[in-house]
């Protein structure tokens, strides 16, 4: 039978989740710029110290062995966050944005991280989802179904790109997606049915008579209406995480890696290169589209300027920052990229300079990203 699992305790991982949750809550709560910057600096020092002292490795080890339980802990952390900020519109919207961008980046991760298919039109597929909600939410289509349709449409429209993506490799395939991103934005701008450059309003979500855009009265406590979106987004992220993890831990994950790493060797062992690239590109776009559809409803407004090539680049940089192929890294990086600039409004446009600097530093000193991907284990805790 299999080798014994390494004796790794659940505690380092548990403590890391608790610390991360506490830090996130504190960071979201503080307002004064000086304290924000001090907290940020403290967080960076703590992470670097943990990495050097070996505590990082212990945390990594316990995530390998106890991923399921630590995932539950992370969800409990989200619950704690929701309790603390239950009436804070701004924070709940911000965290919901993190959750939905994470779903989109997990989709990108299947394409880019596993199959090696570069997609520089992530924001376009996200926009396809969002515009789907804008158009369909005024009709009688049930809103949960709209999310599904948003994903399917993104996958379907993405399949237009399949032929050129399959016929080209590497940089050339990337160029095809860049062209699509530019085309998509222009198409939205000139198309009056979809609101042109001014964009469209998106009606809020209603499911089973429950309106997502009303505050919730709950035993004398008022919850922000964003709580609805927050909960649904968290469920979506949990589902996307499980799907991506299982995909990685299956033969298909192995095939996607083989296709990315050596197409010639892969085809000599019977792998259908086109099939696996199509699978990755389509499932990835589906996830991005579903996230976009919900995000459209959260933001209540869609416009071509929200889905530009620059936004696609942000999504790709999240992947590079977090660690290509590691879903935990993707989520952590999304949180950094979405939350930090919002909290650093005081230093205005310099925050983007800082962000660019951060990406360059990570690529220089930790080219595999903040949380690099580990060797595949087919089952949590297996050797």
């Amino acid at each position: 039978m299999q080798e014994k699992a390494p004796l790794t305790s659940v505690w380092p991982g548990f403590l890391a989740v608790v610390a991360a949750t506490a830090f996130l809550i504190a960071f979201l709560d503080v307002e004064r710029p000086a304290i924000v910057i001090a907290l940020l600096a403290g967080g960076i020092v703590a992470v670097v110290a943990a990495a050097w002292s070996g505590a990082g490795a212990a945390v990594g080890g316990s995530f390998v062995v106890h991923e399921d339980r630590l995932g539950l802990c992370a969800i409990l952390g989200l619950v704690a966050l929701a309790v603390v900020f239950h009436e804070n519109h701004f924070v709940l919207l911000l965290v919901t944005t993190v959750l939905l961008y994470s779903v989109a980046c997990l989709g990108l991760n299947i394409q880019f991280g596993y199959a090696g298919v570069m997609n520089f039109a992530g924001a376009s597929f996200f926009g396809i989802g969002a515009y789907t909600s804008a158009v369909l939410n005024t009709t009688a289509v049930p809103h949960l179904l709209v999310l599904l349709i948003g994903g399917l449409l993104a996958a379907l429209i993405g399949s237009v790109l399949l032929l050129p993506v399959l016929r080209t490799r590497g940089h050339y395939a990337a160029l095809v997606t860049i062209a699509f991103a530019l085309l998509f934005k222009t198409f939205l701008e000139v198309n009056d049915v979809l609101g042109g450059p001014q964009g469209m309003q998106v009606k809020g979500m209603h499911i089973f008579g429950w309106s997502f855009n009303d505050n919730i009265e709950f035993g004398g406590v008022t919850l922000s209406f964003y709580m609805n979106y927050f909960v649904l987004s968290a469920l979506l992220l949990a589902a996307a995480f499980i799907v991506v993890r299982r995909l990685e831990r299956s033969w298909i994950g192995l095939y996607l890696d083989a296709v990315r790493l050596d197409e010639t060797a892969a085809s000599c062992f019977g792998l259908d290169i086109a099939r696996w690239k199509v699978t990755a590109f389509t499932t990835g776009n589906f996830l991005i589209g579903v996230a976009g559809a919900l995000f459209g409803m959260v933001g209540a407004f869609v416009a071509p300027n929200n889905y530009t090539f620059a936004d696609s680049l942000i999504l790709v940089s999240i992947l590079l920052l977090g660690g290509i192929g590691n879903p935990w890294g993707v989520i952590a990086a999304t949180a950094i990229v979405v939350i930090v600039p919002e909290k650093l409004q005081a230093i205005q446009e310099y925050r983007f300079l800082l962000y660019a600097l951060l990406v360059i530093l990570v690529l220089l000193f930790r080219p595999e990203g903040l949380l690099p991907r580990r060797v595949r284990r087919y089952f949590a805790g297996s050797p």
């Binding site: 299982r246 995909l247 033969w251 298909i252 192995l254 083989a258 050596d262 010639t264 060797a265 595949r376």
Partner: protein
């Protein structure tokens, strides 16, 4: 004595260079054939044309009674031919197990639904694959059997060669094409690897092997028969001793004055 692999008038050009020039080559089932010749004589090109990486410009290849001249690399693998590469082509960031299982592709379930949602059935398939990969690697190097989930990139060349051969063998092919298995290894390591290959063949009598090799000691020891190529053509054929004594072969390749 039936031919399992039969090439007739096989030709492949690269621009003005004729890498294979009307090659006729036949391999009988269950034998070990050595393919030798100077650099650039067309040995690796022959492997690449047979396995469908390159298309033939003229001529035909039949395998096990079926014409595979125009077959894709995938179809050739499914027909029962697998190979190793001259420059090791493992995926270095993947584990030993992952690399070997890529070779087992035709025995694995492909469906998205199965892989994502039928985890119990998947686990059974995983366990079966794990057992067979482990049993195979035990033959070559028992030490590696306990390191199945470590990345290949950290291993020395001889271990990578072993894993590459396991990857080629795990699907139970009828024909194994070995492209210079001794490249980058010491004499002793090569001897050890060849012993292991002979051991695998001892257990599976139905395995036919074609081996490209520059180490004449290896060729002499393990092959039943040799084919010598020069400029894409066959210049001699027969048991190693006879071939090595051939004046034309000595002139073209062995360099004995």
């Amino acid at each position: 004595m039936t031919a399992i692999l039969e090439a007739r008038g096989l030709t492949r050009r690269f621009g003005g260079v004729v890498a294979l020039d009307g090659l006729d080559l036949s391999v009988t089932a269950n034998e070990i054939v050595g393919l030798i010749g100077p650099n650039g004589s067309g040995k690796t090109t022959f492997f690449n044309v047979v396995t469908g990486i390159y298309a033939a410009d003229a001529g035909s290849v039949t395998f096990d009674g079926a014409d595979i001249t125009r077959a894709s690399a995938r179809a050739v693998y499914r027909a029962g031919i697998s190979r190793t590469f001259q420059r090791s082509r493992l995926s270095l960031s993947l584990s030993i197990f992952d690399n070997i299982m890529i070779g087992n592709h035709k025995n694995l379930t492909q469906g998205l639904w199965f892989n994502l949602f039928r985890r119990d059935a998947f686990k059974r398939e995983f366990e079966a694959g794990y057992q067979s990969a482990r049993a195979l690697i035990e033959v070559f190097e028992p030490r590696l059997a306990s390191r199945m989930f470590e990345p290949v990139g950290a291993l020395p060349m001889i271990d990578r060669r072993r894993i590459e051969i396991c990857r080629a063998l795990i699907s139970g092919p009828k024909l194994l094409l070995l492209d210079e298995p001794s490249a980058g290894m010491t004499h002793d390591e090569t001897t050890e690897l060849m012993d292991d290959i002979l051991l695998v063949r001892e257990r599976n009598k139905n395995l036919t092997i074609v081996i490209v090799e520059h180490e004449m000691g290896v060729i002499e020891r393990i092959t039943d028969r040799c084919v010598v190529l020069n400029f894409g053509r066959k210049i001699a054929e027969g048991p190693y001793r006879a071939v090595a004594a051939d004046a034309q072969v000595q002139d073209a390749y062995l360099g004995v004055a």
